[in-house]
Symmetry: C2
Subunit: 178 residues, 2 copies
């Protein structure tokens, strides 16, 4: 669903960020969306994520449009110095990976803060928050608090949640720079 | 934004419903989306809404795809007996119209219940809820309660809200029949 929302927003040639590589599903989507003139920069602290995504991109012939960085997305300001068209975040743990290795409230909010400052006009941030694990609710609340306070003259922020699903269905947050 | 979500869902030839004609903005959108083989059925209790929308449709040459019914959308089951591809609701009062004439919790939920029963597989309901007026919060809560209880094996229901806008920004609800 997030891909459907983003497809008309991302322009060929854009510089965009996959803040949490995970299994590379979003990275592939972004690499296709920005086209041969575009660029994707992807972050993950886990080496296995970096390697998996590198392989997937190579298989699809898309690796040259993507830079993979093994570092926390909260250090995004050490790697990117120009405006970006958008960034995608998946919060929680790597599906199929180590459930102990989760994104944390403080670094997540720091990364969102730095990323929002990098956005070009019309640029977006999508945040898919899985929050059923220990600490997940705290992170979701920290993100929501941060987004609720973002200046509404500069950013539009919104929340999308399922109403009739049991358990802890993921929540989607959206940020767009006006 | 709702139009962007619906554009890929509505198919040429569909039968769809504008449950609250209002100023006809959605009616026009739906009439274009269903194409010359499609059909839109629009409800409004206010004669001025019916007349305004009729004129707009005539000007656009789209009137023959649309049936305008001056009755409450809660009587939808008296007019429609076949599956529909979707329905759009705008809750609150007619922008620029009489602020005393508002949709009410009981008839709104009744209309939503009947409309959900008419949905074909993959069909949708969108609900744009303005709730800043007296009674608006009660209606919003009644809608949310109804949607939260819809069987999740048959329907997906979701809520979209703005996080950093002051006042009482409109809320969007979505229903899709699985």
């Amino acid at each position: 669903m997030i891909h459907e929302i983003l497809r008309p927003i991302i322009k060929p040639g854009d510089l965009v960020v996959d803040a949490t590589l995970g299994n590379g599903f979003d990275t592939l989507f972004l690499a296709k969306a920005v086209g041969p003139q575009g660029k994707v920069i992807g972050f993950d602290i886990q080496e296995c994520a970096i390697e998996n995504v590198r392989r997937r991109l190579e298989n699809e012939g898309l690796l040259e449009r993507v830079s993979l960085i093994q570092d926390s997305h909260s250090n995004i300001d050490k790697y990117i110095f120009e405006p970006i068209g958008g960034a995608m975040f998946n919060l929680g743990y790597l599906p199929g990976g180590d459930k102990e290795l989760i994104t944390k409230p403080q670094s997540t909010v720091e990364a969102l803060e730095k990323t929002s400052c990098l956005l070009s006009r019309g640029g977006f941030i999508t945040i898919l928050s899985y929050w059923g694990h220990a600490g997940g609710k705290d992170e979701k609340e920290a993100v929501e608090k941060f987004l609720s306070k973002l200046d509404n003259k500069i950013f539009l922020t919104a929340k999308f949640k399922f109403l009739n699903r049991s358990g802890n269905p993921p929540v989607i947050y959206l940020v767009q720079k006006l």
